[in-house]
């Protein structure tokens, strides 16, 4: 029978995961402002334009505004502040 040996675990140290609640949901979308966040990947602008058109046709009581972050793949606190101050919800997309 082959001898048993002890070896090291090769993985790094993961950070502790702290649970975070979702933001409150809206009772209704009527009269609300939804920011459509174009994440700047190619064709995401076309997707968001189509999504805006869909809302205009199907849920005209919803106001949609397209917004873009300052760069791809990074956070944009200024843009988040704008959405928080002027909007009620956000839809972000869409990469690749």
């Amino acid at each position: 029978m082959a001898a048993k040996i002890k070896v090291h675990d090769p993985r790094g140290f993961p950070p502790r995961v702290v649970g975070r609640r979702l933001a409150n949901r809206l009772e209704s979308l009527d009269g609300k402002v939804i920011f459509l966040v174009d994440c700047l990947f190619e064709s995401s602008d076309v997707f968001m334009a189509q999504l805006q058109q869909w809302f205009a046709e199907h849920l005209p009581a919803v106001t949609t505004r397209i917004i873009r972050p300052r760069a791809s793949m990074v956070d944009d606190p200024d843009m988040r502040a704008t959405i928080a101050a002027q909007g009620n919800a956000a839809i972000i997309g869409v990469g690749l």
Partner: protein, 447 residues
């Protein structure tokens, strides 16, 4: 995804839209952020290049992951009341054990494969004895934190100490005397296992006295499987990246569509002794007597050619503009480099010639998925040189690199006066480098 999580934390109900091939990635990212119930919705892959009508069909179609109308997922995601799980998120520890449960060598080899801890080539099992021997390669304490890595910008960092780096060095088959180089690679903060869909890799170049101290090969076959140090250093960097950053698992922590052979191992020393020019690390402001490792991010393409023949200018330009998102790392055999030196070029002059003559029409330059995605926003924000490139008329020729983008390194055994151009971005703080990292790390600090 990171932006969606940040918006939720800011109190904004948010729906992230992804394509369906990223469903596992989205789930894993949300879990690691403590928000596993984030209301993701999906459209089919691809989105890039589709018309408005085609994308409208996605919007009016079925979410391929949830198997329900896409817009139903969007509207319900914004309006459906929160559940208990939505309120509390997920809090948990993810500590990894110091040692694994004892088992036979054969079973442990299998365990490492099953857990995606290898590159699917045989590894040296990191026994306590082997790790102890490896740790003799540095004076640093085993529990000293070396750095942190992550597979891409929106994932969480994992941290690691000297011992964890040594464990992966053992697995790669490295020797104790290589450990300072491997620690420097790990300390760069640059992952050799980026999760990018572009299948990027890293190429590491060692300079200074340590090249000869540990017997690296800068001669014949420097970039091939012909030297123990070259081979195992690159492999160690790759293995430690995948294991210390939290994985490199297809669909979860790796999305490269092709993968990349350079992910197995890609490390070589500069042939400083045979180069007509000063070495890379001196170009970067380090002393010749210092030992360093420099990391280039790319490996997306390779072009090759020969030294300065009659039509070298045309050949060089063709290679330089073959792809233009990641700038070129030009590797020259010493014969090739001396050929350019004989023409009167020092290294900087040749780099400046390349930057001046690597030109594309603005139309060609911007008609690239990654350039459009990453560089166009910088241009719109007024950041140079992207702003000038964006202002150019479609047929106007624009310079696609600055001299600081381009690097030349000399290596090889003088059996042919050849050059190679790899896509290779020197990692430094700059607009567009959202991955961070230090391009050159001093190895001597890790001896």
């Amino acid at each position: 995804m990171g932006l969606a999580l940040a918006l939720e934390r800011s109190g904004i109900a948010t729906i992230p839209v992804s394509t369906h091939v990223f469903a596992r990635l989205a789930k894993a990212t949300c879990l690691a952020a403590g928000m596993p119930t984030l209301r993701n919705v999906f459209v089919p892959q691809p989105v890039v290049g589709l018309s408005g009508a085609e994308l409208r069909a996605y919007i009016e179609g079925i979410d391929p992951v949830a198997k329900r109308p896409f817009m139903q997922g969007v509207i319900e995601g914004l309006t459906q009341p929160l559940s208990d799980e939505d309120f509390k998120g997920a809090t948990f520890e993810r500590s990894t054990p110091h040692l694994l449960e004892a088992d036979t060598g054969e079973n442990l080899q299998q365990l490492f494969i099953q857990n995606s801890w290898t590159d699917f080539l045989p590894i040296m099992l990191p026994t306590e004895e082997r790790v102890e021997r490896m740790l003799k390669g540095t004076r640093h304490a085993r529990d000293e934190i070396v750095g942190r890595l992550r597979p891409t910008a929106f994932r969480e960092y994992w941290e690691f100490d000297v011992e964890k780096v040594a464990v992966n060095a053992v697995m790669a088959g490295a020797r104790a005397e290589y450990l300072p180089v491997i620690l420097a690679m790990a300390a760069s903060g640059i992952s050799a296992r980026s999760s990018s869909t572009n299948s990027f890799a890293t190429i590491s170049i060692v300079n200074g006295p340590i090249r000869n101290e540990i017997g690296m090969n800068a001669g014949i076959g420097a970039m091939g499987p012909y030297n123990h140090a070259n081979a195992t250093l690159g492999r160690a960097y790759s293995l430690l990246s995948q294991n210390l950053q939290g994985g490199s698992v297809p669909g979860e922590t790796y999305l490269g569509t092709f993968g990349n052979f350079l992910n197995y191992t890609a490390c070589f020393p500069e042939n400083e002794e045979r180069s007509p020019w000063g070495p890379l690390h001196v170009d970067k402001g380090f002393k010749a007597e210092q030992s360093t490792v420099s990391t280039f991010f790319g490996g997306w393409h390779t072009q090759s050619g020969y030294g300065p023949r009659a039509t070298w200018k045309q050949k060089f330009v063709r290679c330089l503009i073959a792809d233009h998102y990641t700038p070129p790392l030009i590797v020259m055999d010493p014969i090739c480099a001396r050929g350019f030196a004989d023409l009167g070029f020092d290294k900087r002059a040749l780099i400046e010639w390349c930057a001046e003559h690597a030109q594309l029409s603005a139309r060609d330059y911007w008609d690239d998925q990654w350039v459009t995605t990453l560089d166009r926003p910088l241009g719109l924000a007024g950041i140079e040189p992207f702003a000038s490139r964006l202002r150019a008329a479609p047929d106007e020729l624009i310079r696609i690199y600055t001299p600081d983008d381009i690097h030349i390194v000399v290596t090889g055994g003088e059996t042919q006066g050849a050059f190679k151009m790899f896509s290779g971005r020197y990692m430094k703080a700059s607009p567009g480098n959202f991955l961070g990292g230090r391009g050159t790390v001093v190895i001597d600090e890790w001896r």
